[in-house]
């Protein structure tokens, strides 16, 4: 089961403080400024002998401009942007069949280096973009015939911060559908390694009944004279006699990965150099036997008319799960037809108590706690082509998490908790990425809170936009402790109700500030400053012990409210937003980083160099 993001704690924190300063809305659009600077240059191919590229689209963006600009290169590859206000601008170049690159970036999709111009200054730059690579081949059906209309995609493993793991995602070049000769062609790919997948869009086919007529029968029919006396036809030469209810074998096309496996982890990687055309990447589609899954939802009380049951593949490499839904009736029975082989999760989303009159109410965990009102079920099933019957999903009540909020500091606030409104963001169950009705969060007059209807499983505490380290007014979130452990520091497996959570706010926080410099010692504002815990047990998505910050124009940065401990600090221009939660990247950067330690409330200064 994958980790779920639980942002309801954050909601409690925001609500309990209720001290955030209100800021008036700002109109952040600058007025049109006319300037006297200009940036011009050429776009060339990224080869040993660079060639100028004509009809390339060059974009220019910067905070000084109300609206970005586009220009088109002339036959000699040249472009120009005139009348620019002084400032810093990012440029990028794109052309069909080439890979879009930002100026100064080392790889596609990465941030580039801004170009600074002063009033009256004319700056010249050269943008180099590599020609895209090509992967092409033929898709055959299981009988070896070219197959039309199959969607072939180039996939690559990428860290998906939302999930916290590496997944196979589309590489950025559009997928290609096979033509009448079964051929596909994917072009414009950045150089690299790809997993090639072929799949057929699902559509519902009313049951076919295609008969193969034996030749003997046709001969016999042709020899019967028209209008002649009816002859008792000879029995069919085939030996097997069939009954009307002979079970039908159902098959499906499984997605296939080059060179020919249905398991993505066993796929070969096709590696292409810049501008290379790789042919012969052929794939044969396979039939896989599909199976029927029959099961029952078990509940202590009466079920509603319809209870949806969800089935989704738990292939860990897929970036997006596909979900099928069956309806269980009042008797709890449900059926999934034609399921291809694989590992699956079965999920019954929380069903409210009102729909289950007579369900036993669990004992309240603590005074003021809310009894569970939602019931849910989770299960796993392995399908191997054989029908499965008797799968059971037993509905369980949700868990309750309750505790209190504490303020540490010189002057604790006087808060009327009954006035506090609690915004509750929706829960996202990572299994199947399914939205679940928000659990109820309530605060009583003494600052105790209760969260009900929580589904057991692994959770990661996260927040909405501002991040775990952000202050709320003058208060900093210090810890969320339950059972002697700080829940902010790891993945939390919630298996039973908890009633002793203590959320602590402090009026002191650590502060780490410094300057990001490049190898020459100049401030570098296009690199991220990264500070992360030295202990890799804290390396998970949205961990508060990992900070990635973009410095200001002078390369300065400040990070506040890192919990006390030992850290590594480094700067890198090679990471994308939130990619620093990828343990592989932290692993790579750790040896290049500077070690430091922070004590409670300590302020420290540190300069980091771009590696």
């Amino acid at each position: 089961m994958r980790i779920k993001a639980l942002s309801i704690f954050a909601a409690v924190c925001f609500a309990a403080a209720h001290l955030a300063a209100q800021q008036p809305p700002r109109d952040t659009r600058p007025a049109d400024k006319i300037g006297t600077a200009s940036i011009s240059g050429v776009v060339t191919s990224d080869e040993a002998q660079p060639r100028p590229l004509r009809r390339a689209r060059v974009t220019l963006n910067g905070p000084e401009l109300a609206m970005g600009r586009t220009s088109i290169t002339a036959d000699d590859g040249s472009f120009t942007f005139e009348r620019l206000p002084a400032g810093r601008y990012t440029l990028a170049a794109a052309k069909e069949a080439y890979v879009r690159m930002s100026y100064g970036a080392r790889r596609p999709n990465a941030q580039g280096t801004p170009v600074a111009v002063a009033d009256g200054q004319r700056q010249r730059v050269t943008l180099r973009i590599p020609r895209g690579s090509v992967i092409t081949g033929t898709v055959l059906d299981p009988e070896g015939q070219p197959m039309r209309g199959v969607l072939v995609s180039a996939l690559t493993y990428r860290f998906v911060p939302g999930v916290g793991e590496r997944r196979l995602v589309s590489a950025g070049a559009p997928s290609s559908a096979t033509d009448d000769r079964g051929e596909y062609r994917i072009f414009g790919l950045p150089a690299g390694g790809y997993v090639i997948s072929a799949g057929v869009e699902q559509f519902s086919v009313s049951s076919l009944d295609i008969r193969v007529v034996p030749a003997g029968e046709i001969q016999q029919a042709l020899s019967e004279r028209q209008g002649g006396p009816p002859q008792a036809p000879a029995q069919s030469p085939s030996a097997a006699t069939t009954k009307a209810n002979e079970p039908r074998r159902t098959v499906a096309y499984a997605p296939v990965y080059y060179p020919g496996t249905a398991v993505s982890a066993q796929a070969s990687t096709v590696t292409v150099a810049p501008g290379e055309e790789r042919t012969g990447i052929d794939i044969q589609m396979q039939y896989v036997p599909t199976a029927k899954i029959e099961g029952m939802v078990i509940s202590a009380a009466a079920l509603p008319q319809v209870t949806p049951v969800m089935l989704n593949s738990s292939d860990p490499t897929l970036a997006v799960d596909s979900v099928r839904v069956a309806s269980a009736g009042p008797d709890g029975r449900f059926t999934f037809n034609a399921v291809p082989p694989g590992q699956y999760n079965l999920i019954v989303r929380p069903v409210p108590l009102g729909a289950m009159a007579g369900a036993p109410r669990p004992q309240p965990a603590a005074p003021g706690a809310v009894s569970a009102s939602m019931y849910w079920a989770l299960g796993t099933v392995a399908v191997q082509g054989e029908d499965l019957a008797g799968v059971t999903l037993t509905l369980q009540p949700g868990l309750t998490i309750s505790g209190r909020v504490v303020f540490e500091g010189a002057t604790p606030p006087a808060i009327d908790f009954s006035q506090v409104r609690v915004p509750v963001p929706p829960l996202r169950l990572a299994v199947g990425n399914l939205p679940i009705p928000s659990p109820m969060v309530r605060l009583d007059a003494t600052g105790r809170f209760t969260i009900g209807d929580v589904i057991p499983g692994p959770y990661r505490l996260t927040t909405t936009a501002q991040g775990m380290r952000s202050p709320i007014g003058a208060w900093w979130l210090k810890s969320v402790v339950a059972g002697g452990r700080d829940l902010l520091d790891s993945v939390v497996d919630i298996r039973q109700s908890i009633d002793d959570v203590v959320v602590t706010f402090s009026d002191r926080a650590t502060e780490l500030s410094g300057t990001v410099t490049d190898a020459q010692g100049n401030p570098a504002s296009n690199a991220f400053a990264l500070v992360f815990a030295a202990d890799s047990q804290f390396w998970f998505t949205d961990s508060r012990r990992i900070a990635g910050v973009r410095p200001d124009a002078e390369g300065r940065f400040t990070i506040r409210n890192l919990p006390p401990g030992t850290y590594l600090a480094v700067a890198s221009a090679d990471v994308d937003d939130r990619e620093w939660f990828d343990p592989e990247i932290l692993q790579r950067l750790a040896p290049l980083a500077t070690k430091l330690s922070l004590a409670e409330g300590e302020r420290k200064t540190l300069d980091v160099t771009v590696r």
Binding site: D180, R185, V200, L222, A252, A254, P255
Partner: protein, 601 residues
């Protein structure tokens, strides 16, 4: 992101044995036939042949025949058993082939039902299938460089109601080599073109994000030209930018390199592979066209406009033309317009009805514009109220009048007599009240037919009279004021035509019967759905039938179905008229006329 977890589900029933009761009912019909390739005549294995449910209900005591499917073997034969009496349609399909059907002698031509008598055994059927044909080629620009990821269209040409029409049959994108391919074309005549569209938006609309079609220039998908933003549309070649900041654009270009009238016609036969249908693009000067849209209350913001080139009568409904929208001062700008003659018009009509159920008033504008080599500014587009057509239904006869609810469902269609066909389908249908009074939506001034899309049970559409003329046959001029008092008459005195076609001494097995008016003026300019130019496929016994044919003077002639492609071409009608039979159908007459097959081609 791609959904890797999806899959196609096919249930195959491969039964080796035949399911039959041990002692079959002797009163059963049987059909055996063979599926063959149109060009080689060789049998086609692995085709799925399906038979429809019969046209008649089963006789008492008999099991009904269900629709079923059979797979042909290596000899191409198929067999259907246990068939009751009745009329069946049999079709065959296989990947790589255009669907075939019994009686079909040309790709997508009319079919013949198979009429089976009680316990009859038909063993001589042949189903012809045509292979899909293919067109491929390369698109290059003036520097000889491949043009990547641009949209190419294949237009199929045919003749409908005397006019040459083209229909979009395929859309493809060029790949990184500039190459495109249409691999599943029905044999016929085609032209290939690079389709280009452009969208211009006022700067303020782009900044505020109101105009979702054009994104800000900073994204690389649009470029600022003067005070408008010109979208760099996906699928359209990137224009050139001169040193002075002017655009040179690529207009819609037909293979090999010109306009629609200079296009090379590619004639494809079954299975033909035609490569090298290349398109060479040349950029042209493009200028700005701007002005103001105003209505009765002054300048009108938010009005969508488009520029229609004159030869787009021929192309399909999805036009690729320059378009824009007026900003909040009513001003509009088209950037990047190549020189030429255009019709500037409002492009979108509301599809809704007002709160009282009446169709909302619609404002129109349409005007010719000649674009040269210099910018044109200060064009005034004056919105006018559209005009409506109203009238009533009359039922001439003794059969039961349709009830009010059914009256409201009668589809009154208003067909423009000239102008781009793209207007069809953009207006809401007319409103009909329970007394049989109808009122259409608003239309711009012009010439129109008023016709009926379908008649109530038992009634035949007879005429749409307005000012003494039948405007279902000849268009009327909608000008200056609403058209009121149109009388749409239905009659229960059906008139029709039937007979038998002979070839030599025996009935013709593969004939088609054509009917067209004696008045040659009615052979052209009768819109898309002429009522008096008709075709009926004779069945295997040579019998043909037009169950409803309006009274009048006609030519009727039978020709081999093989020769019937594009028969509505006026030149062909002239030749047919010379060998056809002249008949007159009176009101209420069900005329009978036997014919002999004529060879005209």
């Amino acid at each position: 992101m791609m959904r890797l977890g999806t899959f196609i589900f096919i249930a195959l029933l491969m039964q080796a044995a035949v399911q039959r009761p041990a002692a079959p009912d002797p009163r059963t019909g049987l059909i055996v036939g063979q599926v063959v390739d149109a060009t080689s005549g060789k049998p086609i294995a692995g085709a799925i042949v399906s038979i429809s449910a019969p046209s008649e209900p089963p006789a008492p005591g008999q099991r009904p025949s269900p629709p079923s499917r059979v797979l042909t073997g290596s000899d191409g034969y198929f067999l259907f058993r246990d068939l009751q009496r009745g009329s069946f349609t049999i079709t065959a399909s296989k990947p790589g082939y255009v669907d075939g059907s019994v009686g079909r002698r040309r790709p997508r031509g009319p079919v013949q039902p198979v009429a089976l008598r009680e316990a009859e055994r038909r063993t001589n059927l042949t189903l012809i299938m045509w292979k899909y044909a293919a067109i491929s080629g390369t698109v290059t620009d003036e520097a000889g460089e491949a043009v990547v990821r641009v949209q190419v269209r294949a237009y199929r040409r045919n003749v409908v109601a005397g006019s040459r029409r083209t229909v979009t049959s395929g859309i493809a994108l060029t790949d990184d080599r500039g190459m495109y391919r249409f691999g599943t074309l029905t044999p016929g005549d085609y032209v290939v073109a690079v389709a280009t569209r452009s969208v211009t938006a006022p700067i303020a609309a782009v900044r505020s994000g109101m105009f979702a079609e054009v994104r800000p220039p900073g994204t690389g998908s649009a470029i600022q030209v003067g005070d408008a933003v010109y979208g760099l549309e996906r699928g359209t070649p990137t224009p050139a930018l001169t040193a002075e900041g002017e655009l040179l654009v690529y207009p819609a270009t037909y293979s090999p390199s010109g306009g629609a009238t200079q296009a090379t016609v590619v004639t494809l036969t079954s299975g033909e592979e035609r490569s090298g249908v290349d398109v060479a693009l040349h950029p042209v000067r493009a200028v700005r066209l701007s002005g103001v849209v105003s209505g009765a209350e002054g300048p009108q913001p938010g009005v969508p406009l488009e520029l229609i080139p004159p030869d787009s009568d021929d192309v399909g409904f999805d036009l690729a033309v320059p378009s824009t929208v007026s900003d909040n001062t009513g001003a509009f700008t088209f950037a990047g317009v190549p020189s030429g003659q255009y019709t500037l018009r409002v492009s979108a009509r509301p599809r809704t009805r007002g709160p009282d159920g009446q169709i909302a008033q619609v404002l129109w504008a349409e005007m010719p514009v000649a674009v040269g080599r210099t910018d044109i500014d200060g064009v005034t587009v004056t919105l006018q109220a559209g005009l409506r057509i109203s009238g009533r239904f009359e039922f001439d006869g003794v059969a039961t009048r349709p009830v009010a609810q059914r009256l409201a469902q009668i589809p009154v269609t208003v067909e423009p007599a000239d102008g781009p066909l793209a207007m069809l389908g953009q207006t809401p249908p007319p409103s009909v009240d329970s007394n049989g009074q109808f009122t259409t939506a608003d239309y711009p001034p012009g010439r129109y037919f008023v016709r009926i899309g379908g008649s109530p049970q038992g009634w035949m559409f007879k005429s749409a009279m307005y000012n003494g003329r039948d405007i279902a046959d000849a268009p009327f001029d909608l000008q200056g004021a609403n058209a009121t008092g149109v009388v749409i008459t239905f009659t229960d005195r059906w008139s029709g035509l039937r007979g038998v076609v002979q070839a030599g001494q025996a009935p013709a097995t593969d004939a088609t019967v054509l009917v067209f008016p004696v008045d040659a003026g009615m052979w052209t300019a009768t819109g898309l759905n002429p009522r008096r130019i008709r075709q009926a496929r004779a069945n295997a016994a040579g019998e043909y039938n037009f169950p409803s044919l309006l009274p009048g003077d006609y030519y009727v002639v039978a020709i081999p179905e093989d020769d019937a492609a594009d028969w509505q071409d006026p030149k062909f009608l002239e030749a047919l008229a010379r060998v056809a039979t002249r008949i007159t159908i009176d009101e209420g007459e069900k005329k009978s006329q036997d014919l002999r097959v004529r060879e005209v081609r």
